[in-house]
């Protein structure tokens, strides 16, 4: 039965998740050089249009309607046919359309996350085609496998409260693969790329934090105790991760940076995403506290060794953070918090959930990597992936969009 309190909460949560994409656009936009800021922002903003329309036309249906072999849905709900204002089937106290709208916002931000790995060199046209294909080939299947009726990963018994697999691991891994295929930015290793506007990074990071309450607490689909629990675990994981990141920085470089504080908060949010509605509050603190050393090490040591150019660390933050989050869920989940989990986590002595989590992470990585490679292959049939060297040098704002972000501020680059 519909409940006004739940509808009220889910309407707002949906709006909050939408706001995360502009938040991400500013987070990423501030991190790139001035000559690429508009292209970077556009990469996220344009997805708000593209992925929304695709979702209504086919995406929601492919993700949530019916079940084709555990991998994908069907087209019964294409163009929102049969998606009405009555309650259910996925949430019993809010209109079906509202559930679909909430899920739509996830289908927007996920491909937008990938773009962080690709900035400053990818042709905009290629990016658009890529995101179009990726949504169909990677996102809808994954969403179905994890959240859809009869989905493969859910059947395994693995859990993912708000999208650790579907959103973060999938986007992070895809970003990595695409960054490798795309190649390094001009001047990589010779030059240092400075964020051109750190306040924008902070603004974006803060909007992400704010919106993440909708993302995680909203994944309860009700204004109930579980939503409250997820709210609290989300916040405290972010807070802990911020502290540990800053602490590591202080140890390693002697200086604490605001960029570090915000990065820490964001990966704390990433890490708690799969477990927000499954793990106790103290475990959320551990999850957050440990994600920073894990990602920090990865970004500063491992990444350097391999030498790929994941420009804004989409993989280092969302991929690695998401994997850790999935593992942490397997460690600390409790069925008493949320009976969607069939077993307690490893920490409480049961290995079954943990194993399921590992398997589901591996499957996600597989689907994302294979899917991304296929998408890129197809994109190349239509257009080269990269801009020309000259265009890259001039900056993608001018070369791809004919715009300049702050035309009257002098300063070169």
């Amino acid at each position: 039965m519909l409940n006004t309190g739940d509808i009220s909460f889910m309407l707002v949560a949906t709006a909050l998740v939408l706001l995360m994409t502009p938040g991400l656009a500013f987070f990423y936009g501030g991190l790139v050089r001035r000559k690429n800021v508009l292209n970077t922002i556009m990469s996220s903003v344009f997805v708000m249009g593209l992925a929304s329309v695709m979702w209504v036309l086919v995406g929601y249906s492919l993700s949530f309607s019916g079940n084709t072999g555990g991998f994908i849905g069907n087209l019964d709900w294409a163009a929102f046919r049969n998606v009405g204002l009555e309650a259910g089937p996925y949430a019993n106290s809010i209109p079906h359309v509202l559930f679909a709208a909430f899920q739509m916002m996830f289908a927007i931000i996920t491909p937008a996350l990938i773009t962080g790995a690709l900035v400053e060199r990818m042709r905009f046209k290629a990016l658009i085609i890529f995101i179009f294909l990726w949504s169909v080939i990677v996102y809808y299947p994954l969403a179905h496998m994890v959240w859809g009726n009869g989905g493969l990963l859910a059947k395994l018994g693995s859990v993912d409260f708000a999208g650790g697999n579907v959103v973060h691991i999938s986007s992070g891994v895809s970003g990595l693969i695409a960054a490798v295929v795309l190649g390094k930015r001009r001047g990589y290793n010779m030059t240092k790329y400075h964020p051109h506007n750190i306040p924008f990074v902070i603004l974006g990071g803060m909007l992400l934090w704010f919106g993440w309450f909708g993302f995680n607490a909203g994944s309860a689909l009700k204004a109930d105790e579980l939503a409250v629990h997820a709210f609290m675990t989300t916040h405290i994981s972010a807070a802990c991760a911020m502290l540990t990141w800053v602490f590591i920085e202080k140890l390693k470089t002697g200086k604490t940076t605001v960029l570090g504080a915000v990065t820490g908060a964001v990966i704390g949010l990433v890490a708690i995403t799969p477990g927000a509605g499954f793990v106790p509050i103290w475990a959320a603190m551990i999850t957050g506290a440990l994600v920073s050393p894990i990602c920090y090490t990865f970004i500063t040591v491992v990444k350097d060794k391999f030498g790929y150019d994941d420009a804004l660390d989409a993989f280092g933050c969302h991929g690695i953070g998401g994997v850790w989050g999935g593992i942490a869920t397997g460690l600390f989940a409790k069925t008493s918090i949320n009976s969607v989990a069939q077993w307690d986590g490893l920490f409480f002595g049961d290995t079954r959930l943990f194993a399921a989590q590992i398997v589901s992470i591996l499957i996600t990585i597989l689907v994302a990597s294979a899917g991304t490679l296929i998408c890129l292959k197809i994109v190349k049939l239509f257009t080269p992936l990269r801009v020309t060297d000259r265009d890259e040098q001039e900056g993608l704002d001018i070369s791809e969009h004919g715009e300049s972000a702050y035309p009257s501020f002098v300063g070169l680059d």
Binding site: E394, P407, L412
Partner: protein, 109 residues
């Protein structure tokens, strides 16, 4: 030594830099300026205010012998044939010092 001051269109910055590098001229100072010539800023895209357009200025201090070559290289690289292509001014410099080594004169360039 000569100082060559070249004021060119913004979009020509990379080309001018490339042209200088080809001549093995690595020393240069670049900054963004606003300016108008006879063009008076009427027609071009990108004008900021009535009659005043953003440009890029290069200051290059160079051995006398190289001066003409540099001028030619810049003239060519910055040329479009449209109004607003820019100007080059030359004046003489008495001394140059490289701070790191205290070298003076042509050695410092």
């Amino acid at each position: 030594m000569k100082k060559i001051e070249a004021i060119v269109k913004r979009e020509k910055m990379e080309d001018v830099k490339a042209a200088l590098n080809k001549l093995n001229v690595n020393g240069m100072t670049i900054y963004q300026v606003m300016g108008c010539g006879n063009q008076k800023g009427w027609t071009e895209e990108g004008m900021e205010d009535l009659n005043i357009l953003p440009k890029v200025k290069f200051d290059i201090v160079i051995d006398d012998k190289m001066a003409e070559k540099v001028i030619d290289a810049i003239s060519e690289a910055a040329y479009t044939g449209d109004i607003g292509d820019g100007k080059i001014f030359i004046c003489s410099v008495e001394q140059a010092i490289r701070i790191r080594t205290k070298e003076r004169g042509n050695d410092a360039l």
